[in-house]
């Protein structure tokens, strides 16, 4: 199947974006280079096209009850215009997807899901909507999405809008914000470990707002940023990626993300399995590691101790910000203590490594 084009496809080509096929979409992996873009986001600002992300609207009298049953985190704590990071799990505790839940009102929620999971997720939501007085609509094709990320993000975006951005707090949103004259949903959220905004808008507006942001951020050194740096940035900030740290056979507890699972709330899908796993104790979990030998550990590489395979790498990079060869790995529980010596199988070689804290990079959120 021919990969789909976002509304910014021509824009990416004009910026010399190196286009790849990602989750069925033609998107730039880099423009000037992953490292330059990574650094721009850490020190100034980067602009990403994340239009591939999926969006689902939940409306109706039972909207809250439906979402509360669907996800692991507590939607009950949300105010209007607040955003929540959470998982949807299967009854066995494995993860359907990770998502953002925007509460517009108690009868209107906006769910943002991963591109590669849109069809699966929407089907899952539909299957689990029986008995709820709601309408579910997959509106993914209606939205473009930009992510403006970095310490200068607010300053740059503020030049294009009359809305006082300092009033949009971390993990809150504002609807119908006029950005360069176009109406947008703007939230202070992101996937980089920096302050920043995610901007949802229609396809006509997206290239215009993109150009306006690039122009407005010139002095600060804004750069268009691709999927390559999106991945290195989220990795350093230990933000999980579905397909790497998360999956149908991985539970949020094993991923080390139990803080987004509220076992104390009323029934939700997967609650029993997750409660049992917590009670029985984990058999494996995701840890950080650092290579002591030269080399780069990558997604899928085996981890061993002697002849015994004890797990696998979920993500690994030469960290652009830290300059170290580090990674995340799912390991048998007896090897997860800090300092444990492990080996990563890189092609024919076994590289020495040790378990370290997963907090690779201190997130710079404006809370």
């Amino acid at each position: 199947m021919e990969p789909k084009k976002t509304s910014l496809y021509e824009t990416h080509k004009n910026h010399n974006g190196k286009i790849i096929d990602f989750a069925g979409w033609s998107l730039p992996v880099e423009y000037e280079g992953i490292l330059v873009e990574h650094e721009a986001v850490r020190n100034a600002a980067g602009l990403f096209d994340v239009s591939h992300m999926g969006e689902v609207e939940v409306k109706g009298k039972d909207a809250f009850k439906f979402v509360q049953n669907l996800v692991t985190n507590d939607v009950g704590v949300l105010e209007d215009k607040q955003v929540l990071y959470t998982f949807m799990c299967y009854p066995h505790g494995g993860i359907v997807d990770d998502l953002l839940v925007y509460r517009f009102t108690q009868e209107h929620f906006f769910l943002v899901i991963n591109a590669s999971n849109i069809d699966k997720d929407f089907q899952w939501m539909t299957e689990n909507s029986a008995g709820y007085d709601i309408t579910l609509e997959n509106v993914s094709v209606d939205y473009s999405e930009l992510a403006l990320q970095g310490p200068k993000a607010q300053e740059i975006l503020q030049r294009l809008t009359d809305t006082d951005l300092s009033t949009i707090k971390f993990f809150y949103c504002e609807r119908a914000v006029k950005v360069a004259g176009y109406s947008c949903l703007v939230s202070r959220t992101g996937y980089t470990g920096e302050d920043g905004f995610e901007i949802y808008l229609n396809h006509e507006a997206a290239p215009k707002v993109w150009d306006a942001l690039i122009e407005a951020g010139k002095e600060e050194g804004i750069k268009p940023a691709g999927l390559g740096s999106r991945d290195t940035l989220r990795f350093e900030a230990t933000l999980p990626l579905y397909g790497n740290e998360l999956g149908e056979d991985i539970t949020p507890l094993e991923a080390g993300l139990g803080m987004f699972v509220k076992l104390g709330k009323e029934a939700f899908i997967g609650k029993e399995a997750l409660a049992k796993q917590k009670e029985d104790g984990l058999k494996r979990k995701i840890v950080g590691f650092e290579l002591e030998d030269k080399g780069i550990a990558r997604h899928g590489y085996e981890v061993a101790v002697g002849d015994k395979v004890i797990g696998f790498v979920t993500t690994g990079y030469l960290s652009p910000t830290l300059g170290k060869n580090i990674g995340l790995a799912m390991l048998d529980i007896e090897y997860t203590e800090l300092g444990t010596p492990i080996e990563v199988k890189v092609r024919k070689r076994s590289l020495k490594a040790k378990v370290i804290s997963k907090k690779f990079y201190d997130k710079k959120y404006k809370k």
């Binding site: 280079g33 992953i34 780069i296 030469l318 092609r347």
Partner: protein
């Protein structure tokens, strides 16, 4: 696209510079551009024998590890240790950054490789 006359080129984007029976092998400027910033190079060991098409070493960009296939058979006589500490040299000067030098075991294999001109055409079509 940068090219150097007098080198042999493979369709996996390696170059070969022949000096007598010795051949220096590296990746082309086109290849380094495709890979992006190179952050790690795995070199072969001296005295290892390779047949044409074997993985001679690995070049890693931020994003991915790419095998480098040797376009001609031979035994490694020297490796460019400088690349182990400064892999970015390949980005800066791909044709100056040889990875390994081999003693050719079958010089006739060179005839299957491309000239600079043919390689240019090959890349234009890719």
């Amino acid at each position: 696209m940068k090219l150097v006359e007098g080198l042999y080129y493979s369709n996996d984007h390696e170059w070969v510079r022949v000096e007598g029976n010795k051949a220096y092998i590296g990746i082309t400027d086109y290849a380094q551009k495709q890979l992006g910033a190179i952050v790690f190079v795995e070199l072969p060991e001296v005295d290892t024998e390779f047949a044409e098409g074997d993985a001679l070493g690995v070049v890693e960009s931020v994003k991915a590890a790419s095998d480098i296939y040797i376009p001609v058979s031979g035994t490694v006589v020297e490796v460019n240790e400088e690349l182990a500490d400064s892999p970015q040299l390949i980005n800066e000067d791909a044709f100056g950054s040889w990875m390994a030098a081999i003693e050719l075991s079958n010089a006739e294999e060179l005839e299957k490789l491309m000239s600079a001109e043919d390689y240019q055409k090959f890349c234009d079509e890719e």
